[in-house]
Amino acid sequence: MKHYRLLPLVAVVVMFAAVRVIAADVKLIANGSIKADMISATEVKSVFLEEHSSLRDGTHVEPVLETDGPVHQAFLHEYLGGTDDDLQNYYRALVFSGRGSMPKQLGSDAEVVAYVVRTKGAIGYVNAETIVEGVKTLTIVRGGNDAQRKLITRVEPEYPDTLKRLNIGGTVRLQLTIAPSGNVEVVEVLGGNPILGEAAVAAVKQWVYSASHSRTIAELSIPFGSHP
């Protein structure tokens, strides 16, 4: 009886997992030396294009990329824009005009994780479902005045036991409306597993940001299943 109850849940989870195989979800991982827990999508772009060599808190960062494959393509599409050829040409322009180096490019999630673990300041991306240890998973904030709203209180979402047992994770995308006082007023799930979404919403509603003159709309990506 107990098992029958679980079946619809497993079916939903499997369905979402299948969708993710087609369009890979990515998560951003960082070496333990990086202080920040969150990074804006704009910052991700500027770090990987070597326009910025440090985060807003002053921490040095060094990007590491994957050479090809669905995770790399998803990252390009989601955060950098353009094709891999465009990106390679961009880096080659830096290299041959004396304005920078080619960032490290590795062939698999496992290699990226291993590099990020041992390299101070390293920041990379892997499939959202890759199990990672010894690195930090960064929450990516999108849109709104994210650059101006500092997160003061953060409550980690609870990873539902059933999904944890089945080793099923993923990334949930949320849209938040942050009140001028800093409280999170509204949280809407934009994408991801609905069960994980519920857990994420429950946690994020307790978050508190710094005060501001106006209301802020922001987007977040919260990964489940692979925290160190």
Binding site: E62, D86, G98, R99, G100, S101, M102, A147
Partner: protein, 416 residues
């Protein structure tokens, strides 16, 4: 020449047959990673009439080779060093005399403020600092109205320093990147300017001077749209020897050249959307100079060179990109002084001697990730023969110029 063509054919046939891979190299030095990158390209140009770019192109010429090799290393989080050697042969220019292309020590205090010093590539417009690396683009030759390859020395690098940075703008207004530079320009005596001067019996032993300026570019909130502007001022001197046409019996006498006014303004925009890239630039170069023997000014020339282009390229398949551009170049000058009679004023840009209008189509095939082949057609009107170089030189066109030139350019290159 035939050896070069055979080499080119061998390269084209040989590389795809084998499973050759080419990638950047790295090694450790003093516990630091050193990256090694390089490129080499070989071109062939055939023209129907006028000889172009100092090559004997009307017979077909493969005297169109260049290569570069660089090494760089990140010493600390903020400190980066590197250097690149470059060599080329373009008809009568370069002649395989290697040069230090850039050698830079770069310290980035913050993302919005960094300093680089040494021999630094000059940021001027979209492509000045990457003009030698044609593998970054669909085209074998950049629009010559704005990036004349025969006088690359004039703008390519300065021995001095830059300050630079990128500032993210609030309210999602994009980002501004700035570079301000100052330094010394030093032309090779194998450059187009010295070669053109030799036509008038003037042989430079050195040419160069102070350059300073700035570049400002805005990555706008509209995804893929970049706009910018650059400015460069120069204070140049040249020294050499000349046979004074007013007293040829004296033989060679020392000659000096001094610029009174010398500046470049450049405005540009680039838009990329998926596999499409469109860009356009405008450059105006104004030069007012005196040529002296001793303290006597024999010639004063005021030149006004204006160029612009509109270019588009589209990748129609993973390995195939096509493109086209229209390049518009005009030159005018006014001369005064005892030798002015030898350099009649050129003020009508409509005359073929005062312009080059170039319509271009190109196709680029990426045989491997590191290896491309380009086929390009240039349909030019005008030859812009003047006191300033623009691709067409009287020395290699002793029969005189014809108003139209059609050129076929084939170029292949590898990079790692």
């Amino acid at each position: 020449m035939h050896k070069r063509i055979l080499g080119l054919i061998f390269l084209c046939l040989g590389l795809p047959a084998g499973q050759i891979g080419l990638q950047a190299q790295e090694f450790k030095l003093l516990d630091r990673t050193v990256q090694v990158h390089g490129f080499v390209s070989q071109g062939f140009i055939y023209t129907n009439d006028n000889n172009w770019l100092t090559m004997n192109t009307s017979q077909g010429s493969a005297a169109f080779t260049d290569f570069g090799l660089n090494m760089s290393s990140r010493v600390t989080d903020k400190f980066w060093i590197g250097a690149q050697g470059y060599d080329r042969n373009l008809g009568q220019l370069g002649q395989y005399h290697p040069s230090l292309d850039w050698a830079v020590a770069d310290y980035r205090f913050k993302s919005w403020f960094g300093v680089r010093g040494g021999k630094v590539k000059t940021r001027l417009g979209l492509y000045n600092d990457t003009q030698d690396e044609d593998f970054l683009r669909a085209f074998a030759l950049l629009p010559q109205s704005v990036y004349p390859t025969d006088i690359r020395d004039a703008t390519i690098a300065h021995l001095g320093a830059d300050v630079y940075g990128t500032i993210s703008l609030a309210r999602h207004l994009g980002a501004i990147s700035y570079t301000a530079f100052a330094g010394h320009r030093s032309d090779s005596i194998y450059s187009g300017y010295a070669y053109l001067a030799s036509e008038f019996g003037l042989y430079y032993s050195r040419y160069g001077g102070l350059q300073y300026g700035a570049d400002l570019r805005w990555n706008t909130p509209l995804k893929g749209l970049l706009i910018g502007a650059s400015r460069m001022n120069q204070d140049l001197t040249g020294a050499g020897k000349i046979v004074n046409p007013l007293s040829p019996s004296a033989g060679f006498v020392p000659e000096t050249e001094r610029s009174k006014t010398d500046w470049i303004n450049q405005f540009y925009g680039e838009y990329t959307f998926a596999k499409l890239r469109i860009d356009s630039e405008y450059r105006r170069f104004v030069n007012d100079e005196d040529d002296l023997i001793g303290d006597s000014v024999l010639l004063s020339i005021n030149s006004d060179v204006r160029g612009w282009y509109v270019s588009g390229a589209y990748r129609i398949a993973k390995r195939l990109e096509v493109g086209s551009y229209y390049s518009h170049y005009t030159i005018g000058h006014v001369a005064s002084g005892p030798l002015a009679v030898l350099f009649p004023d050129q003020t009508n840009p409509g005359l073929p001697a005062n312009h080059v209008y170039d319509k271009v189509i190109t196709a680029r095939l990426d045989l491997k990730r590191f290896w491309d082949v380009k086929l390009e057609g240039h349909f030019m009107n005008g030859y812009g023969s003047s006191v300033y170089p623009d691709g067409f030189y009287p020395q290699v066109n002793p029969q005189g110029f014809k108003p139209n030139t059609t050129a076929l350019v084939v170029k292949t290159g590898i990079n790692f």
